[in-house]
Symmetry: C2
Subunit: 225 residues, 2 copies
DNA sequence: CGCCTTCTTGACTCCTGTCAAGTCCCGTGG
DNA sequence: CCACGGGACTTGACAGGAGTCAAGAAGGCG
């Protein structure tokens, strides 16, 4: 039943506990662009992502948006132990999720210490990531952010390499606008930086949302990390 | 023994568990400016803050620094379940901490589910805060950051109000440089913004690191949240 | 009182945001 | 098959906020 069982939260469970969580979970298909949780709303459900990509975002009073995290298959969605959620969760692609009512999930956490420990580990990892994104947003230039983003995406997306160690091509699962939201930039700046990298022949943009990383070492050099 | 017992992590424990944690903890005094954990270093210890203020920081390759979190009394320091820590932890004032070896702390977490649950809650809160700081660093102007920072600090520091509802005065526990690191700005920009707020008679700067919030409503209006 | 750090202020630069046209891409429908 | 339309993307011109560099002033500690 659970397509991402080895990696997902429920994958850490032994047979018994797993069936507990599966029993309360309900499969749901989500359309691209659909928002499954709104900031300020009561936190009623939690979920595991089975497939697809989501963004976790907040917006300023004047309407500009910032993505504070990307969620991939096997990642967890929701905020246990809080009455409300502070962030929107929106699908960036078609997706499937496994939804639990929050109180039931909390009870399962409390009765299954292996699950709870795994959840704690994941939360600690998410915290490290959120802090690393703070450093990026506060101190990196647009060029450094784009370089880091492309490398991260290449890693996440896999992508074909015609020759071993050679250029790698993959499709960005995000629009320019969504990338801008993630990196704390504007669409125009993202576009200009991509054009600049293309002009420098560090990447190629074969069309659509495809990206080819031609000279990975140079790109890595631009991240200055 | 535990001066912040009601609030600190160990305060959530029942007598039995508490004594477990106290048995492995060791009191330590820390000087202002002292760094008790270095990024990239092996994660050997965890600690509870008993008194004082710490910053959690990272730096870019070119040496600029960013504070990714402030740690107050009763807050937890360290990274269980990871071999290395990614951040520096530095005392911004004289401080006292209660130190546990990381493996012993992990064992205690695993054997005491109430402690583990409390630790999970704290980690979730820290995650929310880290995400909220992402929004600030990505999308707020210098003026908005300063306004929010002053209001946050006023709340944390308490501070005397000569007349109820009237102006409130408190001492900033951070230097201008430390504030700049927290807000993702430079010392000069912090200084200029403070001067601007002073000129607008929204705050006063009586000397030293003291701040008086004269018109709190206006200051709150500037945060645009 | 004097030194040294911290803070303030000024002049200038530059990166990124804003506003405004285009251009590309792709699916739809004639 | 190709023209059309609309969203996504690119490009240009310009402005402005924050960074950088450089003095100076203020404050604290010996």
């Amino acid at each position: 039943m659970c397509a991402v069982q080895e990696e997902a939260l429920c994958g850490s469970l032994e047979r018994r506990g797993l069936s507990d969580l599966n029993r309360i979970g309900r499969l749901r298909r989500v359309e691209r662009g659909e928002t499954i949780a709104w900031a300020g709303e009561e936190s009623r459900n939690c979920a595991n992502i089975l497939s697809g990509l989501f963004k976790l975002s907040a917006s300023t009073a004047d309407g500009r948006e910032q993505t504070v995290g990307l969620l991939y298959p096997a990642d967890f969605v929701g905020r246990p132990y809080a009455p409300r959620t502070d962030y929107n969760v929106t699908a960036l692609s078609e997706a499937e999720i496994c939804v639990f009512p929050r109180p039931a999930f909390e009870e399962t956490l409390e009765s299954d210490s292996a699950l709870e420990r795994e959840f704690l580990r994941r939360t600690l990892t998410a915290l490290d990531e959120a802090r690393s994104r703070q450093l990026m947003l506060a101190r990196q230039t647009a060029e450094q952010r784009i370089a880091r983003f492309l490398l991260d995406m290449a890693k996440k997306m896999g992508g074909a390499r015609p020759t071993p160690g050679g250029p790698r091509t993959f499709d960005l699962p995000l629009s320019r606008g969504a990338i801008a939201d993630v990196l704390g930039l504007t669409i125009e700046t993202v576009s200009r930086q991509m054009t600049k990298l293309k002009a420098a022949r560090i990447i190629a943009l074969p069309g659509g949302r495809a990206v080819t990383i031609i000279r990975e070492a140079e790109l890595r050099g631009l991240t200055a990390e």
